[in-house]
Symmetry: C2
Amino acid sequence: MKLDKMIGDRFKERPSDCQIDSHALMVRGGYIKYVANGIYSSFPPLKRITSKIERIIREEMDAVDGQEVMFPVVMPASLWQETGRYTSIGSELLRFTDRNKQPMVLGMTHEEAAVQLVREYANSYSKYPFMIYQIQTKFRDEARPRGGLIRVREFTMKDAYSFHTSQEDLEEYYARVHKAYERIYERCGAKNVISVKSDSGMMGGSVSHEFMLLTPVGEDSIAICKECGYRANVEAAKSIVEDLRDENSEELKEVYTPEIHTIEDICEFLKMPLNKSCKAVVYQKNSDDSYIVIFIRGELEINETKVTNFLGCDIHPAVITDDCGLCAGYIGPVNLKVNGEYTVLYDLSLENANNLSCGANKNEYHLTGLDMKRDVPNAEYHDFAKIADGGICPECGKKAINISRGIEVGNIFQLGTKYTKSMKMTYLDKDGNEQTPIMGCYGIGVGRLAASVAESSHDEYGPIWPMAIAPWQVHLCAVRSDDERVRTAADKLYSDLQSAGVEVIYDDRNVRAGVMFSDADLLGVPLRVVVSPRNLDEGVYELSSRDKSLSEKLAPETAVSRLKELIEEMMKK
Amino acid sequence: MKLDKMIGDRFKERPSDCQIDSHALMVRGGYIKYVANGIYSSFPPLKRITSKIERIIREEMDAVDGQEVMFPVVMPASLWQETGRYTSIGSELLRFTDRNKQPMVLGMTHEEAAVQLVREYANSYSKYPFMIYQIQTKFRDEARPRGGLIRVREFTMKDAYSFHTSQEDLEEYYARVHKAYERIYERCGAKNVISVKSDSGMMGGSVSHEFMLLTPVGEDSIAICKECGYRANVEAAKSIVEDLRDENSEELKEVYTPEIHTIEDICEFLKMPLNKSCKAVVYQKNSDDSYIVIFIRGELEINETKVTNFLGCDIHPAVITDDCGLCAGYIGPVNLKVNGEYTVLYDLSLENANNLSCGANKNEYHLTGLDMKRDVPNAEYHDFAKIADGGICPECGKKAINISRGIEVGNIFQLGTKYTKSMKMTYLDKDGNEQTPIMGCYGIGVGRLAASVAESSHDEYGPIWPMAIAPWQVHLCAVRSDDERVRTAADKLYSDLQSAGVEVIYDDRNVRAGVMFSDADLLGVPLRVVVSPRNLDEGVYELSSRDKSLSEKLAPETAVSRLKELIEEMMKK
């Protein structure tokens, strides 16, 4: 198409509200338009990109025997009540009532709809296994949308659901989808995507993986072991610490520590290392604001996901009131008092620890010589700590953990029977016995993948789209289109390329070459051909690639075939 | 794909809740699954059909220079407040609040979003004209969903919006889209689609057309003139009546009419024709329940759309209470009394009428000899009547109107400046003056089109899909697949057809031929090939078409090429 006629503005200035590059470039390049917080419209270049991504996803889903279906965006609450998620999910699930006062939800995921679709059909073992998928709009009422298309409220997603008669069959299929996902990222040109173990969260199930595009601006933290290759989302990685128990336990002693509130200050005051202290971190349950006091070794941080999963409810950092009984700044495990209902949790890092400092539950006093076994004999220990950079790998046991940042560009889950059981989906096995099928589910956000590719492949002037998902294959610039020779040659090349089935965007505006090129940079089309008076004097067109790896002169008579050849080559990359 | 593995059940019994054939066949054939009132999931066969329809629509929209974009499903109320539609549209517009208590709506149409997308971009005359479109999910909270996919609450729609600098330019483009729509229906194999003038309703604007698929089960009534070809939705057709004024007006006289309540009864009692009576029809405004009394000639019916458009507000049939002042059964235009606020309207049919009977606004009494000019001198007359079968054509004036039924499968509107003006979208014209652009909009419901095609093309056994939108091109049945010869031959044909790029559904289940064929009928694939022991004895495969127009024997060695030839032929139909 002609650039002149394409809707959308392109401009130079980085919008002040864009924190990450891909967001800024998507706005500057006329890809997206802000409609409301976390809600965007797409301009034609982005629509073309996402359509190509969708086609690739579709092909790979069909290749693993997926059957494309379509679920509703708006669903009756009753469906979500069957699985209990209508109440268990927080305000991300948008709830409303229709004109007849029926409670409804906007689909943020479709496990319930998937089971509802096949519940009657799949009543015999012979119908299994099968996988169904859709590519459809979803709405998730995120508290903090960010980064343009990276974290939005409304998004297009491919979500797939597989049904099996055994865990082995699920695992085998799960591995096939894992491979299909790798192919999808590779074909879309998303570099640096790795799969990591993840936390299953509200989806339920045990085994799950996230596909992470590694980038410093990612919002997820990933633990990677340099030694054994272990990879997990920090939220899901087990924390392992060195056992630092001293041979002899000192006596428990009260120490006057005026004006000392933080764990760092007390350790410095006592001249003890952080890992010889017992820190208290306090939360409250969202449901009733009751307190949760968690004790953990001083150098470690709490992984809130682990706490949430352990408690089975949402929590928030505590507001410590005057009358709650807690002595802010001086909280410790010995003689802890809290008014009203409360929960105390102990991290595994404390299990065997002694000679620790801790709060004395008394204003301006700490204790030293704390021996957990001796002084807190009834404590139960669980893993609530966040794995740390330089920490111990839970797989190989070496101190080789690196923490990287990543954007989650896909996830796959072994769901087990959470949904089929609660929704009473059953089948008869070979022996005529009633059984509950086992499910897997598999998601990819289309817009986020597009933005992630831009994030991992751009320069300061614009995105550098891989050929397979680029909005066009060739960007044709007619520099000095008012020159009759240029006009004639460029028009002909445009029409020849179109006839040859090449997707070409044609800039024949009578504007300065600088304007043309900066627009072309923002559109990020992989191949650029310039027709200009100077080139025509030489009898050639000028070809360059957006990633600057290629620059050559094209003879007019072989230009089309050379471009087709290059496109084919670049499609394979 | 193999039928054996396809999700969805097919069955014989017509579901009792299906009023129309296409609905019953879509349920019986495993095309749709009920999720909630007016909300369905699609099984693979329907998804394949709608994807093909979408492709055809996309090609035709691109051919009229459309640019594909994507608008949000969830929009902020503020956008709809700009045009006033947030309040003017009834409960079809689903309103809710998000987690931050912001009012939002579910998009049922996207004029506001379209203007918002291009408002800054299209600031100069040189950017015009342009058209943008999307294919996306919409939600319209219909009071009475019906007929399966014919009238749903959630649906996939192609909606397009064009922007122009002059009415002439809009009209020219409107005519191009009109032609594109004709091509879409033709390519999709939707027979008997005609365009009719329509009422613009909540969309605003003056000129609009609906594309109607003529079928007795349609919910719209269409007036078609046998003489001049005039075609309009009954809601939009002007009502013309014969002037029946007698030369002399009789005296106004009160007549005792006990136990007579209906207009038919009083005419029979007085031995006068219906068209010599003045009938009262009473409504109430939805907003304040105030009464609207409409007088109309006895033989005519009220067109509520005309009344709604005239008043600019929604109405409902009245409940006549004891204390409202109206004398139910005896309401007339002379000495009419209503307690509280009310509106009186007069239909054009009464403008010149005399010697009419009418209610006397007094229990058990009517009047005769009513002369509207003499007795109701201040009446203003407007067109509120429904055009009737056998009525006068508003175009050619002949008594040649036929009323047909139709399903609306698309609509196009000349919107004018309703949206651009209220949303303050402007551009600078050639002379640097600020102007307001003129819009057109163009919609097609994808699922409804699929259902309409099934409605217009089916037999008692299933839909008869046209080749261009059929879920598959060839349905291959291996009768007696347990026979080694059949298995080998059918497997080979299946694989050869796939290699040749033919879309084939392969039924190799070991079931009775009857079961196979009734499943094939329900899937409605245009070409069916049967491989059976009897055929193989003859050295052939058996080919037939779903519409029964074709039946031939295929030589195995030329089967693929013959099928490809037929597919190509049938694509053109």
